[in-house]
Symmetry: C2
Subunit: 144 residues, 2 copies
Amino acid sequence: MSGYHLKKKGGFPLATLKYSRQRESIKHYLSITTKHPTADEVYMHMKKEFPNISLGTVYRNLNLLTDLGEAVKISTPDGGDRFDGRLEPHNHFLCTKCGRLLDLDIDMRSVEAATRKAAENFDGIITSSTTLFYGECSDCIKKS
Amino acid sequence: MSGYHLKKKGGFPLATLKYSRQRESIKHYLSITTKHPTADEVYMHMKKEFPNISLGTVYRNLNLLTDLGEAVKISTPDGGDRFDGRLEPHNHFLCTKCGRLLDLDIDMRSVEAATRKAAENFDGIITSSTTLFYGECSDCIKKS
DNA sequence: TTTAGTGCAAACGATTTGCAAAATA
DNA sequence: TATTTTGCAAATCGTTTGCACTAAA
C-alpha cells in the first residue's frame, strides 16, 4: 500500500500517500453510512471524533478518496455534491419532495445495454455512465 | 419516460408571468444553440443584444425557464451547471478530457427498460431519469 | 530528517438576493 | 395603476488554497 503513485484528474502525478487518522475515519464513515452526506455533513460527523478537524481537511480527503476510486462524488441539480463510499456499481434516486438521495439497486445489465446502444451511434469512446432517477420517495408518499 | 425532471421548489403556486424581452431571447438562444452553455456563457451571448443585461437576470430567467419545463439544467461533477433548451428526451455525454458536453441520441427504449427495472424493487415513484455518459470525444481521440 | 497532512483563515467561483428604477399588463 | 422584471451590488454558498505547524515514514 505504501509508496504507490497514481494520477489525478489532469494527469498530474500524485505524491506518495501517508497514513492519516482523519482520512481513515472519513473513509470508514462513508463505508458505513447510507446517507450520501454532503461534505459539510461529513465534517459535522467527524467533529465528534476530531473536534478540531477543519472543513478544508474534509474536502481534501473527500477529493483524494474520490481520485483514488475509494469514494464516489454524486452531483445533483440542487445543492452541493454528495459522497458515497459504496463502490459496487449502483444507481441513485433523488426525491424531488424531500431532497433525500437513496441507493437504488437495479440489474446493471439493463444499464449496460443502454450504454451499448449509446455507443453505437457515437463516434467517441464511452467509458462509463451514471443514471440519476427522480421521483417521490415512499416516506413522502405516506405523508401526502 | 422522459430524461427530464421538472423542478418545483416548494409546491407553492407560481406567480403570474409577465412577458420580458430578455427571457424570450434567452429561451430562443437555448433553443438554437447546441453548446449546452453555462449561465455565464448565456450571459455573454445576451450582452450582444442587451448590453446592459445583468448576470442576475440571466440566472433568474434560467431558473424560471427550468421551473417551467422550458429548459433543462444539467449538473456535472466538474464546474457549474449547463443549460439545454432541447426538450425532447435525450441524453448527454461529457468528455473527460476537454470538458465538452454533447448531445447523445440513443434509442430511449433501452433507457426506459432500465427505468422499469429500477422501479420494480423500489417502493417510491420514479417519474424520470437522466443519464450522463463519460468518455473521450472524437476530437480528443484525433488529437492523441 | 524529509515529506505529507492538518487547522486555520482568506480567497474563490458560482449563484442568489435586496432594492429602487423600468417595463409590462 | 398595480404588479412583474430588470440592473446593480452586496451577500451567500460550496469549495479551494496558502501558510506555518504537526504527524508519519
